[in-house]
Amino acid sequence: MSAVTLGLIATFAPLAAALLLWALVPLRHRGAPAAWVTLLGSVIALAASVKLVIDRLGGAPDVRTTIPWIEERGRAMAELGVQLDGVSVPMLVIVCLVALCVQLFSVAYMHDEPPRAFGRYFTLHALFLFSMNVVVVSPNLLQLFAGWELVGLTSYLLIGFYFAKPSAAQAAVKAFWMTKLADMGFLFGLLVLYVNTGGFEWTAVPGTAIATWVTALLFLAVVGKSAQFPLHIWLPDAMEGPTPVSALLHAATMVAAGVFLVVRADPLFAQAPATREVMLWIGASTAVFAAGLALVQKDIKKVLAFSTCSQLGYMVAALGAGQAFAGFFHLGTHAFFKALLFLAAGSVIHAVHSNSLDDMGGLRKKLPLTTAAFVIGALSLAGVPGFAGFFSKDLVLGALEGKASWVPWAMLMGSAFLTAFYMGRVVIKAFWGAESEKAAHAHEGGLAMTGPLVALALPSLGAGFLGGWLATQVRAEYHLHLGLTPIAASAMALLGIGAAIMVFGKGGQAPLVGTLEKLDAFSLVDKTWAGAYRIGLLGVSSLAGWIDRYLIDGLMNFTGWAALEGGASARKLQTGLVRDYAMLVVVGVLVLVLIGVLR
């Protein structure tokens, strides 16, 4: 099979599953069979993408095929297609693998849902995988945008999966609005690019000024999708969705689409140093800011959510530093260990029926496998040498080393410490310490739950060693070097873990926690956006509504009123007396004759 066919299979197998489930209502309503259909689609997609990787290992070249999508004056204005190269093929594998693991996990995790909801859940999962693959294989920015919006849609629908809960409904809408707000940047960027280059190619060379505009606008969308400051507020709320959804969409793949976009559009971004500078700072500050907030969350999923923000900040900072490969590599390893962390957290939540860290404790005896998985994920996330996260984080930090300003580098170093520290907190609070009341009846889930954990733990351990191969794929330089950065980073990770054991091992509190908690509770960014929404949008819209009803339409009513009133007063001329009418005739004659005389 040709590479294009395989790419198409990887993309459309999940869509076929989704369509099948959409059309065959009884199948969907049965529940369990729907899961198998979706899983089958994902397996096919994964198989196709693995075959692609094998082919590439065998030296298969990059391929790119397009067909016209939108036409203008008989010429293709927009195209759809498949581009399979060193960026999209590894990404395809990552996405399909994580998705398959998460779906498999979901079979057990969502077991208690009513069959209809279960079917809907898996239909949406299939749709998500399709949308994500559309993003991954897209040969141009327009198709990427289409997939981008579609993953946004599935994210919206999956966050709102428990739509009966008002908080979930609110979170879904909020996520959609925030990302849609940012996506306006994407659309504007596309328009600017189109006007100036006549296409949507990321290989275009429109000149620095235009490139800066385009990339700045695209980056706006990245800020929204990848939950960077100050548009990150939707991501913690998105944890209202089922935990596997958080693992797949809001940790491993969808939020990483922003990073993927920048990696893809690297040729464009390379022409816009100003944009990169902004990215560097925003990424670094998000990394620190989110890591700080992760420290004080009581909800295990929210810790992970803020951690995702923080790690995405790393990637964005690396991209800003001009090291697209570092960001991409971190994206890959992060996808594995963050999905692992979320699924392990899901396993915990499934066992204790609570999200709150306070309800957990001492779970390592009840849930040994989950504990092992979570710890592997946490160590990887913390960047302990040898784990996947170490290699990629080291690359990110190395990218920043030696930049004009050392501040971002220091910020990321600081947040590396914080990362290890807050992960240590979670591990200790959840798995060590005294056994909580709810933990008493906890037990491991079935094979469907543990299997994916194992499957994801392996790459979390070892994916770091694939960096070399990945670098050849994207034609980047990659070599491990022993310098200041790896040593400092390892030290930070170990220090953080040590500090966590020292502080939390005895049930203590970290310094500054009070301040951070207040900061978190106050949630300034959230309030600012809410205020902007209430005043800026609702206020203006009610004003517009009032104007339309009472001024514009009022004016129309006034016209009608004036006509009616005018008619009423004109009617007074109609006395009904023949004599008066006759007199009017006489007056008329008089006027006519007068005109005749004077002429």
Binding site: P68, W69, I70, E71, E72, R73, G74, M77, R116, A146, G147, E149, L150, L153, Y156, L157, G160, F163, A164, P166, A169, Q170, A172, V173, F176, W177, K180, L181, M184, L187, F188, L191, V192, Y194, V195, N196, G198, G199, L537, L538, V540, S541, S542, L543, A544, G545, W546, D548, R549, Y550, L551, I552, D553, G554, L555, M556, N557, G560, W561, E565
Partner: protein, 516 residues
């Protein structure tokens, strides 16, 4: 020469005539006859699309019958690419509209009769190539609306307020009679403007003919063009909801019964935009090029202002109605760009919005029929009892906000790309902002109606879609997605027509277009 175009116009009219002799007690027969008339039209429109040669373009399937040769009036029917797309839209909407109004109780015979007359007029407009006949059909399409809303509509109250409060005592603002009267009067004022423009064209054509092809070939004096274009723009534009002559639309669509809202917002508003495009832009291109910045500026107001107004509404039907004002602004924006992308987008948006708003109104009608309320505040959690309605409503919302994969995206994207390429690139900014505001209000409404805890009390036993009600969501929903993924189904027709007509625009306007 076959008679497909005559068939498409005549089928609803004949069905209407048959309805006259069907006794009003035969309720099923009435519906079946109406449905047959609609189905024949739909079939004919599909057949037309199949027979139309997309490679050649231009006017095809010509049929001519002289009516008043001494005045240059001919019943000349032919169809261009735009017409094909809009005929398909009309056919789909009328079939689903008839099925959606299956449960009309009161005076159903007259209801279906008027519906069929109306749709015959719509078909007539899209296929007539004689200005006089065009106008005649236009009026046939517009006028039944008065009765349809006045008799079968629904009323609500609008409290008196504002500087024109004193005018309220003259009208029952918000009642169906008020809505019907306002709609009819405003559209008739528009018609009067069109009539004047029409006779100006006729008088200055030299040939004393209403034949559109002859008029197209005529180079009108610039002075005449500058009088004709604003008349055509505002005359037809009133029907297309051009600010500030859009206020008939929210009240009219909110008061109208389901099928009528579907047809009116779905198809009739397009007549207005089609008129501006086909008469204004094509017949008087020099003035059109001069006026385009103004048309586009007003359209931008329409997009953003309509969206903001929709965001402030508390009545479900008003939200949908104002969204039409906003989306028709996108159409007018596309028209004003004066380039292929914009025009293609405008016509595509006509179809996309027609399907989308038809779906919206069909679903709103379903909800209203069951819950007996349109106030969003009273609803909540309806997805528990009517999941199918919720699903399709969400789909309509997504197309409305221009999500890729739905027809709305293709249309809006082309319009914005056209605007960005055109002389006034900034038009794209409020356009995209309008799409964002749309996202806010449609999803908020969607959440408020369908999401949340399962409804209790009187709403706990609302039924989901059943029997003929399936038609509108299923057909229109699928088309939204199909046209969203495979735009060439329609674009091939639209593009060939746009190419043909664009050649007529003066070079000044074309020179402003940045060609990459």
């Amino acid at each position: 020469m076959n008679h497909l175009l005559a068939t498409i116009v005549a089928a609803p009219a004949i069905a209407g005539a048959v309805l006259l002799v069907v006794p009003s007690t035969q309720r099923l027969a009435i519906r079946v006859v109406s449905l047959l008339g609609a189905l024949v039209s739909l079939g004919a429109s599909i057949q037309i699309a199949l027979q139309y040669d997309r490679a050649t373009g231009g006017l095809q399937l010509l049929e001519t019958v002289p009516l008043v040769p001494s005045l240059g009036i001919h019943l000349k029917l032919a169809v261009d690419g735009w017409g094909v797309a809009l005929l398909l839209l009309t056919g789909v909407i009328i079939v689903t509209g008839v099925l959606a109004s299956w449960s009309v109780e009161r005076r159903d015979k007259e209801f279906f009769l008027l519906l069929l007359v109306l749709v015959a007029g719509v078909f007539g407009v899209f296929v007539s190539q004689d200005l006089f006949v065009f106008f005649l059909f236009y009026e046939i399409a517009v006028l039944p609306m008065y009765l349809l809303i006045g008799i079968w509509g629904s009323s609500h109250e609008v409290p008196a307020s504002g500087p024109f409060k004193f005018a309220w005592r003259r009208f029952a603002v918000g009642s169906k009679e008020y809505a019907a009267m306002k709609l009819t009067l405003m559209l008739l004022v528009g018609s009067a403007a069109i009539l004047v423009a029409m006779f100006l064209l006729w008088g200055n054509s030299g040939a004393r003919t209403f034949d559109l092809q002859v008029l197209e070939a005529t180079k009108f004096p610039i002075g005449v063009q500058h009088v004709v274009f604003p008349l055509v723009w505002l005359g037809f534009g009133t029907l297309a909801g051009v600010f500030p002559f859009h206020t008939w639309s929210p009240d009219g669509h909110a008061s109208a019964p389901t099928a009528v809202s579907m047809l009116h917002a779905g198809v009739l508003m397009k007549l207005g935009a089609f008129g501006v495009l086909r008469i204004g832009m094509v017949l008087v291109p020099d003035a059109a090029a001069w006026w385009a910045p103004i048309v586009g500026g007003v359209a931008v107001v329409n997009v953003l202002y309509g969206a903001l107004c929709a965001a402030s509404q508390k009545d479900l039907k008003y939200i949908v109605a104002y969204s039409s004002v906003s989306h028709m602004g996108v159409v007018m924006l596309g028209i004003a760009t004066l380039n292929a992308a914009g025009w293609n987008g405008a016509v595509y948006q006509m179809v996309a919005h027609g399907i989308m708003t038809g779906l919206f109104f069909a679903l709103v009608g379903l909800v209203y029929e069951r819950a007996h309320t349109r106030a969003i505040a009273k609803m909540g959690g309806f997805a528990h009892v009517m999941p199918v309605v919720a699903g399709f409503f969400t789909l309509a919302c997504l197309s409305s906000l221009g999500l890729p994969g739905t027809a709305g995206f293709i249309a809006e994207f082309m319009v914005f790309a056209g605007a960005a390429k055109g002389a006034n690139a900034w038009w794209a900014v409020p356009g995209v902002l309008g799409a964002f505001v749309t996202a806010v209000y449609v999803l908020r409404a969607c959440k408020a109606i369908f999401w949340g805890p399962a409804p209790a009390g009187e709403y706990s036993h609302l039924e989901d879609v059943r029997r003929t009600e399936w038609a509108a969501p299923l057909v229109l929903g699928s088309l939204l997605v199909v046209f969203g993924f495979w735009p060439r189904l329609l674009l091939d027709f639209i593009d060939v027509a746009s190419q043909g007509y664009l050649g007529r625009l003066p070079l000044v306007a074309l020179a402003q277009v940045v060609t990459p």
